[in-house]
Amino acid sequence: MQCCEGLRSQAASRRSLLLGGAAFAAWAYLPKFARAADGGDPRLVVVILRGALDGLATVAPIGDPEYAGLHGSIALRPDGPNAAVMLDSFFGLHPAMPEFARMYRAKQAAVIHAVATSYRERSHFDGQDVLESGFAGPGRVQSGWLNRALEALPRGERVTRALAVGPTTPLVLRGAAPTVGWAPVALPQADDDTAMRLLELYQHRDPALVSALTQGLQLEKVAQGDEMKPKPGTNGIGAMRLVARGAAKLMAADDGPRIGALAFDGWDTHAKEGGPVGRLAQLLGGLDGALAEFEGGLGDRWRDTVIVVATEFGRTARINGTEGTDHGTGTIALLAGGAVKGGRVISDWPGLKPANLYQGRDLAPTTDLRAVMKGVLRDQFGLADRVLAESVFPDSRAAKPMQGLIS
């Protein structure tokens, strides 16, 4: 068999492997809603970090007397080489995130600390299901909260341009509301006539495949610009930037998608997590670069944009025997964008004394992540509290939408 001839080089296959972990998908329609009052044209990007981000290593509670001992050899320090960037007198930001620090100072970025979903076990896959489905517990669910939020929005024009990376849509955006995506794969394509014939066959013989193929074909129309194709030598960190860069370009367009999601893998730092430099530092640098790509690529639209970064759960407060951290509970969520009321670390800090740790090992969650998401959805898109508490995040009445996240 001869396929994918052009993809035989090592560089190409490595590139594809790495991009397998980065996906972007978007709503197929422009929202038609009323924020006409202020003339805003709001945009929302949800970034899922799969593998469980160490929130205590990313935004370190340097002012907590227990922190340095718990995080041991990988703890951030307020001074010396590679010092943390102090966000206030208590929390220090990882030095691999200078762009986020700049946004924070410009009051366009915020941190929510000691946050968690309603999930209290420690399986990645169930944890991601809860994070992305928006249901209170794990289970085989077919739709994500962002998709259900879209269903509640008045549907405007069809998006003519969209892109996604990776052949699958992240669960958070899966569901009844149609989505689009695109993969930057350099591959000779089937011609339109063949595609139309196949669609006709599916219509008669296998209707379930019709919509998937139809969507798949439409995506490709736009994003044929070569600039989005990753280049040889692109590492996983560069891939994060590239995905964000392509997403930003399409989301900036007047007829481009307004609401999208992407996912980055690789945050499961069980061993050799590294402190100010090392494995986590590299990943955070990639995330930081991705945020900067959004800011640059969205241009004037950045003003109306909110990016939410979230992960399925946190990691143990105390490092394990291999200079890493095991699965935990409380962690952080990040907000960035011109529409964010930033320059704040929002936290009801539970403290890191042994008695304050969840099950004696994890940062105790004091904020429900759903409250953050609900606050963003309500203030960015005007979704009603009732819709948020019933269909978007079922059974979440107790997690009231957080106030004042959007400026």
Binding site: M1, G6, T194, R205, K231, G299
Partner: protein, 515 residues
């Protein structure tokens, strides 16, 4: 003509890798005795083993990698000593300044004009253009493949060939199922990549028609798994090494044993059980380059790293010392009812339906429990069930199944793994490299996503453009499905405007994609 074409389709596609082209007679053979066709492979001695010249053992591969890394280190040291100005290049720093929108636009315009002048089909040329995000240093000349890449390709080719030449391919499908259940990822690092093939040959294949408990033990004691899930770094906090080096447990392997390999989430274990199992298997490691603990690249039990004392796991106290303690725990959880349920469900989901018939799952669970995890009995029970033959063919072929089936139909003799590996990368199933320890997804939704379908079509079109010349698509359709082919598909293939288009449509037809 075939006696039971629909059953032949089930035999070949649900259980196997699809009909081979040419004069194989696969479809006719499958139609004349569908169950017998599938089961005949189970009775061949050592049916799942893969041994051939050029495939080396895990210790031999480990030694080759250690030597290779040692050479590189020595070369680096030599450069450092000579004080040469040519220090090894460091990672280029991420650009701090964000390019402005207008500079991106300028940059894109420049590149688009280049793109239009380049041959759009020449992927390599298109990919070689300088990258605007990270300025590229001048390109070094291509390096010959190193020992890791060479080994990975050799192992990949052996596996692809085995699947391509099998009669039905049921045993190879079982290998792929179990290999994904107990997956490692080659992306973990050099050792994982060089061991990905030998792990499957040594820990999975010998037990695919044997006992689950034996496979479990072979997997958890294989250096590739110990490396993949960090157990070589886990030290008992009160062990000699733990005290001396002030380091301790890593729960990664223990958790995945319980969550993904045996009991499943909700299978009746707690966080304390995970931690206890992590303690139990401290000391399970492999010997390194120096060979202090044993021959490099072999499984060894390092008593110095083992947490001393009895441990309680899932209510039972294990007093054993040494490696026997962990082996006793594994033997018990292999027999746990939760394990039987978890395995039976996954097995039925893989072969029959995303939501498998409960009666079938119950029967498989019973067989698993009654036979002490006899995996040949499990496979036989599946083939003997009525559900496996009656359930409609609703599952999508995985990318691996799709590419292998395409090669088989077109009578290819794989001599180069690259086209297969490239196709798997594009379609989101890079060989031996799932994103996490839960392996690749096993539902139709995962593989029938919009982007995936579009890419399958592109790949089908590309296969067809290269190989469609000398074939008769109508004959191929008869080889694939005979009179089980729907009139719609037959008409679509017959009315195609070219042989190439007909072949692309055939490869994308429900008869070829569903199983």
């Amino acid at each position: 003509m075939a006696r039971d074409s629909q059953a032949a389709l089930v035999a070949l596609n649900r259980f196997g890798f699809g009909a081979r082209g040419g004069a194989s007679g696969d479809f006719v053979n499958a139609a004349s005795d569908p169950r017998g066709f599938v089961k005949s492979e189970l009775n061949r001695a050592n049916a799942a083993l893969l041994e051939m010249p050029g495939l080396a053992s895990t210790p031999a591969l480990g030694k080759a990698l250690f030597d290779y890394q040692f050479e590189i280190q020595q070369a680096r040291d030599a450069v450092a000593k000579s004080g040469a100005t040519e220090a090894p290049p460091t990672e280029p720093k991420a650009q701090r300044r964000n390019p402005s929108l207008s500079s991106i636009a300028t940059d894109m315009t420049a590149k688009e004009s280049m793109a239009s002048s380049a041959d759009g089909n020449n992927v390599n040329a298109a990919m070689a253009r300088p990258d605007a995000v990270q300025p590229n240093p001048p390109k070094p000349p291509p390096q010959p493949p190193n020992v890791i890449q060479k080994t990975f390709r050799t192992e990949a080719l052996a596996r692809i060939q085995r699947a391509s030449f099998a009669d039905c391919g049921f045993v190879e499908r079982l290998v792929v199922f179990w290999s994904n259940h107990f997956c490692i990822s080659a992306n973990k690092g050099g050792l994982a990549r060089i061991w990905a093939g030998s792990f499957e040959r040594e820990a999975i294949r010998p037990h695919v028609l044997g006992r689950f408990a034996d496979m479990l033990k072979a997997v958890e004691q294989h250096p590739a798994m110990l490396f993949f899930l960090d157990n070589q770094q886990s030290l008992g906090p009160d062990s000699r090494a733990g005290i001396n080096r002030n380091r301790g447990l890593n729960e990664n392997l223990a958790r995945e044993i319980m969550e993904l390999h045996t009991l499943g989430v909700g299978g009746g274990y707690t966080q304390d059980d995970v931690t206890a199992l992590a303690r139990v298997i401290t000391g399970w490691t492999f010997a390194g380059r120096q060979g202090q603990l044993g021959p490099p690249g072999t499984f060894v039990f390092n008593a110095n790293a083992h947490q001393p004392g009895a441990q309680r796991v899932m209510g039972k106290v294990y007093e054993q010392s040494g490696v026997a303690q962990g082996e006793a725990v594994l033997a018990d959880i292999a027999r746990h009812p939760s394990t039987a349920k978890f395995i039976a469900t996954k097995f039925a989901r893989h072969f029959v339906a995303d939501d498998p018939p409960p009666a079938l799952v119950a029967r498989l669970q019973d067989v698993f429990g009654r036979t002490d995890g006899d995996l040949k009995a499990l496979a036989t029970a599946l083939v003997d069930s009525s559900e496996a033959w009656d359930a409609p063919l609703t599952k999508m072929r995985s990318p691996y199944e799709f590419l292998i089936a395409s090669g088989r139909l077109l009578g290819r003799n794989p001599e180069d793994p690259s086209p297969y590996l490239g196709g798997l990368n594009v379609l989101g199933q890079p060989l031996w490299s799932p994103a996490g320890p839960n392996g690749f997804p096993d539902t139709s939704a995962a593989w029938a996503a919009p982007e995936g379908m579009k890419l399958r079509l592109d790949i089908s079109a590309q296969i067809a453009s290269r190989l469609g010349d000398g074939i008769d698509p109508r004959e191929l359709l008869d080889l694939v499905a005979a009179d089980a082919a729907s009139p719609d598909t037959r008409r679509t293939v017959e009315r195609a405007e070219s042989r190439q288009q007909a072949l692309a449509l055939l490869l994308m037809s429900p008869e070829f994609q569903r199983r």
